[in-house]
């Protein structure tokens, strides 16, 4: 072949080589089809492990029970047994190491999430004990009279 054909060809080949080597450097080696097919599974495989390594913050009642057995046992015999400790006390994360103290939400608004009366007979909401937030001691915190760990209306 003549020189005038070779010279631009070398430039093109060089550009392709440059592109390929740049791609090899930028694209992670575990990038490829890792799922059921190309359409849905084309990704970086390490991303799955990144997500698996995400920090768990809500530890569950069993974790709380390891130290606060008395409180958990009291709660498990009450109408509030289905409520997780962390719904009111906040996520445990690594408590007691981090955070050392959990903040308790004693606001009326927390109780009203379930106990503010709504006229919805088709929802299980209407089966819960309900109050009118404006009419039922509006300036007082619920916990001043009610024990959230073991609410008992008869004993009041």
């Amino acid at each position: 072949m003549k020189n005038h054909a070779w010279r631009p060809l070398i430039v093109v080949i060089g550009a392709i080589a440059l592109l390929l080597s740049a791609r090899a450097m930028v694209v992670p080696s575990d990038f490829g089809v890792n799922g059921k097919n190309f359409t849905y599974g084309f990704h970086r495989k390490g991303s799955i492990d990144d997500w698996k390594a995400f920090k768990v913050k809500y530890r569950g009642k069993e974790y709380c029970k390891e130290c606060h057995e008395e409180k958990v046992t009291e709660n498990l015999g009450s109408p509030h047994k289905a409520i997780e400790c962390e719904n009111c006390h906040g996520p445990a994360i690594d408590h007691p190491d981090n955070p050392a103290k959990l903040t308790v939400d004693k606001a009326r608004e927390l109780c009203l999430r379930c106990h503010a009366g709504l006229p919805y007979p088709q929802s299980q909401r209407s089966e819960l004990p309900a109050i009118d937030p404006q009419g039922h001691n509006p300036d007082q915190a619920c916990v001043e009279c009610h024990n959230p760990h073991h609410p008992n209306l008869e004993a009041m």
């Binding site: 990038f31 799922g35 599974g41 084309f42 970086r44 768990v56 999430r113 007979p121 299980q124 819960l128």
Partner: protein, 256 residues
């Protein structure tokens, strides 16, 4: 046979290429390897929402936001709870204040008082990513930053997402949003970090009424799978052909 220098060099080059082909290109795969490469897995995660049991407390939304580090006070959320109130004049009132994060404590909907006597039906519907079998959000991603795992969960690779927003527009359920901190597409992961180590997802664990449950569709003895297989369940927007894997009990026609 006569061979010129040029021909000799050509043949030598071709021979060299063939000889350098890695032997692994012809390796026979074991059945287990074939299974792994076509994505056969023992788990397919599915979600079951019982709208009859939901009371609209919003503890699931709160737990999700704190568990998954979704900015708490910004108008973004991976899951939310909608309130549907149909009145006797045929009107439908729908709202989800703050995504239901603080629950529903007032009968007012968008500042509008709705008299109890006027209500013909009212209920709550929790929503989250449907982890579709045919996820349109994954199809449109131009860079391969979002994908479906073998156990059926659609995830976003935050290091690879360029934030173009195609997937946010592609989702018929509106479950994706732009993460204000990471500047990437964000979505419900079914709490992949929790379910992959045997824990319940944050919203399932936080729900006191078992309105939210999760199960493995490939295990026919799984109680959630049993319900999905034997009871009357429905899915959202089946007309899109996305094959959502979040099943609902007690959906109504007015739910969109």
């Amino acid at each position: 046979m006569k061979s010129s220098r040029r021909q000799f060099l050509k043949k030598a080059l071709a021979g060299g290429v063939v000889a350098s082909l890695p032997l692994s290109a012809f390796r026979a795969l074991s059945p287990a390897e074939v299974k792994a490469s076509i994505g056969d897995d023992a788990v397919r995660w599915a979600f079951l929402v019982d709208t009859q049991k939901c009371v609209g407390c919003g503890l699931c939304v709160k737990a999700c936001k704190l568990e998954n580090e979704v900015p708490y006070d910004l108008p973004v959320t991976r899951t939310w709870v909608e309130r549907y109130v149909e009145t006797k004049d045929g009107k439908t009132h729908i709202d989800t204040p703050e995504g239901g994060r603080d629950g529903f404590t007032s009968p007012k909907i968008r500042e509008e008082e709705i008299p109890a006597a006027e209500i013909s039906k009212a209920f709550f519907v929790p929503k989250l990513c449907n982890q579709c079998e045919n996820p349109p959000c994954v199809q449109v991603c131009p860079v391969g930053a979002t994908y479906q795992t073998k156990d059926g969960v659609v995830l976003v690779d935050r290091t690879w997402c360029i934030g173009c927003g195609y997937c946010i527009m592609a989702c018929p359920y509106g479950v994706r949003f732009f993460h204000p901190v990471h500047k990437t597409a964000e979505k419900c992961t079914f709490c992949y970090h929790r379910i992959s180590q045997g824990l319940k997802s944050a919203c399932v664990q936080a729900c006191p009424f078992e309105a939210r449950q999760m199960g493995n569709l490939k295990d026919h003895n799984d109680p959630v799978t049993q319900i999905i297989m034997t009871q009357r369940v429905s899915i959202l927007k089946s007309e899109y052909g996305t094959k959502p894997q979040v099943y609902y009990i007690g959906l109504d026609e007015i739910v969109r």
